[in-house]
């Protein structure tokens, strides 16, 4: 089975944007070992595409702002005290980072590149 067909199977594994265990088990039972491997990999990458991880220095209750920003995506909040006055958002393969540590690192890189 080619990758295109496996991608179709991955899309078929979802009902209302939620992974359906019955469908997944049925598809998995019909696939050969090699195809199953590709199916799992594609499923993982699809899940990753639809999940946003938000790291905050402390977890606060008002999370509406992020839900608005990433409509239709699953949002996972994580606490990371090392992010001083900042936030790190991981949206699939794009990472948005804004914190004091990063700013200082940027200054250090700039000095390293601009001066001997």
């Amino acid at each position: 089975m080619n990758v295109k067909n496996i991608k179709k199977l991955v899309l078929a594994s979802y009902i209302d944007k939620k992974l359906n265990p019955i469908r997944v088990n049925k598809i998995a039972g019909l696939l050969a070992r090699k195809d199953l491997k590709t199916y799992i990999k594609t499923l993982k990458s699809y899940e990753k595409k639809n999940t946003v991880i938000i790291n905050l220095p402390f977890l606060y209750n008002d999370k509406k702002i992020f839900a608005k920003m990433f409509k239709g995506k699953k949002i996972i909040y994580k606490e990371d005290p090392s992010l001083i006055a900042g936030v790190r958002i991981i949206n699939n393969d794009i990472v948005y980072e804004h914190d004091l540590k990063n700013t200082l690192e940027d200054i250090a890189t700039h000095i390293g590149l601009a001066y001997d």
Partner: protein
Amino acid sequence: MIDADTIIKQLEERLATFQGNAKTQNVGIVEKNTDGVIAASGLSQTFMGELVSFDKNQMGVVLNLDEDNVSILTLGKSDDIKEGDTVKTTGKILSINVSDDILGRVVNPLGEPLDGKSKIKKGKDMPLEKIAAGVVDREPVSVPLKTGIKAIDALIPIGRGQRELIIGDRQTGKTAIAIDTIINQKQRSKKQKPVICVYVAIGQKQSTVAQVIDRLGQDGALDYSIIVAAGASDSSSLQYLAPYAGVAIAEYFMEKGEDVLVVYDDLTKHAWAYRQISLVLKRPAGREAYPGDIFYLHSRLLERAVKLNKANGNGSITALPIIETQANDISAYIPTNVISITDGQLYLQQDLFNNGIRPAINVGSSVSRVGGAAQTPAIKSVSGKMKLELAQYNELAAFAQFGSELDPATLAQLERGKKTIEILKQPQFHPLEESLEILSIFAVANGYLDDIKLELFEKFETEYHDFVKRSYPKIIELLSTGQKPSELTIKEIQRSITDFKKTFNA
């Protein structure tokens, strides 16, 4: 030197721009590492040729963009890049740091010093890949690039901004011509515009590169030269990038209005390195297993050799690519490609080399398409006659092989031809000033050497040059101007030869 206040001010400005500016990074995961070529998933925002960084500070360049993954060419060691490692985009394209400090240095294609000296001072970041200057920015080749080799300067002249291929089998003196040309660029007077030289060693033995460095050092040529080395033991990615790094360095100086000479030694090995990379990248293989874009690989490199017009600083880049052939086969894939890209070629032959004709240039098969326009009137006035004589000699020599009786006129022509070939011989690492080249060519073309035995030519030439420098310095001075010699100067040259012949002790 920037003072502390300026640095602090710049940093404050920088800090102001940081505020509210989130850092965005595109992150991918390493899937495969095959011979320094990494396949990574993610990196959906990356672009072709973008510089990416791995976990342990290794760098790479994006070479293939596929539907689900990208292929990255690593720069330097890649053994410890494992499956699952993260890879981040940098938003930059591959470039090399160039400043005036790079003169006299030996660097790798990433600009890291290989000569054990300090880091190259911060200058300008020059991109390795760049679109060559367009037609509007250029002007025709008009200034000669003197090689100091009689056969080249007289018969196959090279101009600043030209691309002249040096082609031949192994051990025929290809590198020697390039090195002689570099040595000859030494600034002899303040009037003369210096030429900065970049020697790019691709896939060569470290010992060979060391010999070149040593030779350039001995002749004081390192002061105005830069050596970019990617040796045989370096990764194919570094070998692939080496000529682009060389031309990027050359562009830095060209933008400052300087004339630059770049030697690519050699592009055959460069093509091999690119073939290896392409096969690992699983690009479709074509003739001789080279990828489809092998022509573009060299054409985009050699197009960057240019003579800029006055509005753009009037700088130039002259390229001397070298190609190694197998058994004199210039119709192979890579040689024909590069022949068609360049503005002429110097064809070196093994049998000429073995017969003691060195430099072993086959004058009949070598051409210079634009160099003639750049030749000075002085050398043009003497070399025109010699070209004709050599052509006649080659034709007659073919007939004379039949052994039939020849009339005295034909015999004289054959004799003159032999002497012309003899005078074009030149020892390695002894480039000559143009004025001395003119004197030698004038002497043979006008029959002043007809009574000198062939085996005494070298001695005659050396002693005659010394004699003129000593007793007729005015001739050297007049010929150095590049102007066509006047009747008076010609008479003076004739007198110098007659005078010298009286004293020449055969």
